[in-house]
């Protein structure tokens, strides 16, 4: 944020890190990018039974500018790929991406010419969720994994530049 870089790794910045990470990880605002059946399971996750609000991630924002967690749930075709890339680019930092389901992770059953073989070929992905579609519990598990990831970040250092396609 500018100020912290002058202060160095003092107790002030580490405590600031802890505070900021704590608030970030408990107030993830997801941007649902639902293109297929995984989005139905995602709806179930937000619904009463699994209640994503328990993790502070219930505020769905359908505008990329207001959200910081992109949940790609569904098959991404080659025609949809530029849209996904654009939405990812429009999101403000800090931003995280969850790839939900087989299709988003690796193309899944659609090993065919119009389908993107994994969204990590165009945008960096933080957590991969398996399943076809995953259970709502699996998505909650992924969000908890992501919270662990957010806990380790620092405001002093920019986020590790992720290599696309690992």
């Amino acid at each position: 944020m500018g100020l912290e870089e002058k202060l160095g790794d003092s107790i002030f910045t580490t405590k600031l890190d802890a505070l900021i990470n704590w608030s970030r990880k408990n107030s993830l605002w997801p941007m649902p990018f639902g293109t297929a059946c995984c989005a139905i399971e995602f709806m179930a996750t937000v619904g009463t039974r699994f209640d994503l609000a328990r993790f502070g991630a219930e505020a769905m924002r359908f505008s990329p500018r207001q959200s910081d967690l992109l949940i790609v749930s569904g098959t991404i075709s080659n025609k949809m790929a530029p849209v996904l890339k654009k939405i990812y680019d429009q999101m403000a930092e800090p931003k995280w991406v969850i790839s939900m389901g087989s299709c988003a992770t690796s193309g899944g059953i659609f090993d065919s010419y119009p389908t993107l073989q994994g969204i990590d070929t165009i945008i960096p992905v933080d957590v991969y969720v398996t399943g076809c579609p995953p259970r709502p519990e699996a998505l909650i598990d992924a969000i908890m994994l992501l919270q662990d990831l957010i806990k380790q970040e620092s405001v002093r250092r920019p986020r590790k530049a992720m290599v696309i396609g690992q």
């Binding site: 009463t48 090993d111 957590v127 690992q166």
Partner: protein, 183 residues
């Protein structure tokens, strides 16, 4: 005029009434929530049903290496490579299951001729930070005593056919396409 104003006030009264009707339901649930529906997931885990298809597992010691599962897999999630051992039996040297690509259809389990060799576990929490961690390796590896010609043949092929190889072509493809686009 009077009829119109009558209707107007009646509508207003209806609106106020309906607000209190709705609030009555809310207050009712606030006082006694009734049945609790939310599952406290990380603490309390719901047991999946009997036929639930979770993570695939292989009992590699009883695997005959028939490759029926790899052939029937609709998404080529199973990479299976076998060699003949000294007893002329097929040995599954490489048995990789790409959980990222698996669609949990269960065709491989049906195709498997050996009982309880390939089976689903009720395990569903295996999200990960990287795709490579999602590939489960079950292969027995190379033969313990490499014979003269038989072991020479598979060994150069092995690194190319091993686990992460499934991801590499994708990466290669994208690099190529990027280069082509750049040109």
């Amino acid at each position: 005029m009077t009829e119109n104003s009558k209707g107007y006030f009646k509508k207003m009264l209806d609106a106020v009434k309906s607000v209190f009707t709705g609030l009555g339901v809310t207050i009712g649930y606030g006082v006694s929530p009734g049945r609790e529906v939310t599952q406290q997931y990380p603490e309390v885990k719901r047991e999946p049903y009997d036929r639930f298809r979770g993570k695939l597992f292989v009992d590699i010691n009883i695997c005959t290496g028939c490759t029926a599962c790899a052939r029937i897999c609709p998404v080529d999630a199973i990479v299976l490579k076998t060699v003949r051992d000294e007893n002329k039996k097929l040995r599954p040297v490489v048995f990789d299951i790409d959980n990222a690509r698996c669609i949990y259809c269960g065709l491989c389990v049906e195709a498997c001729p050996v009982d309880n060799c390939l089976y689903f576990r009720k395990e569903y929490e295996f999200s990960s930070y990287s795709k490579d961690e999602l590939i489960s390796h079950f292969g027995l590896g190379e033969l313990p005593q490499p014979d003269k010609p038989a072991a020479d043949r598979p060994s150069p092929d092995m690194p190319a056919q091993a686990g992460p190889a499934k991801d590499q072509p994708v990466q290669g493809k994208t690099d190529e396409t990027r280069k082509e686009e750049g040109k």
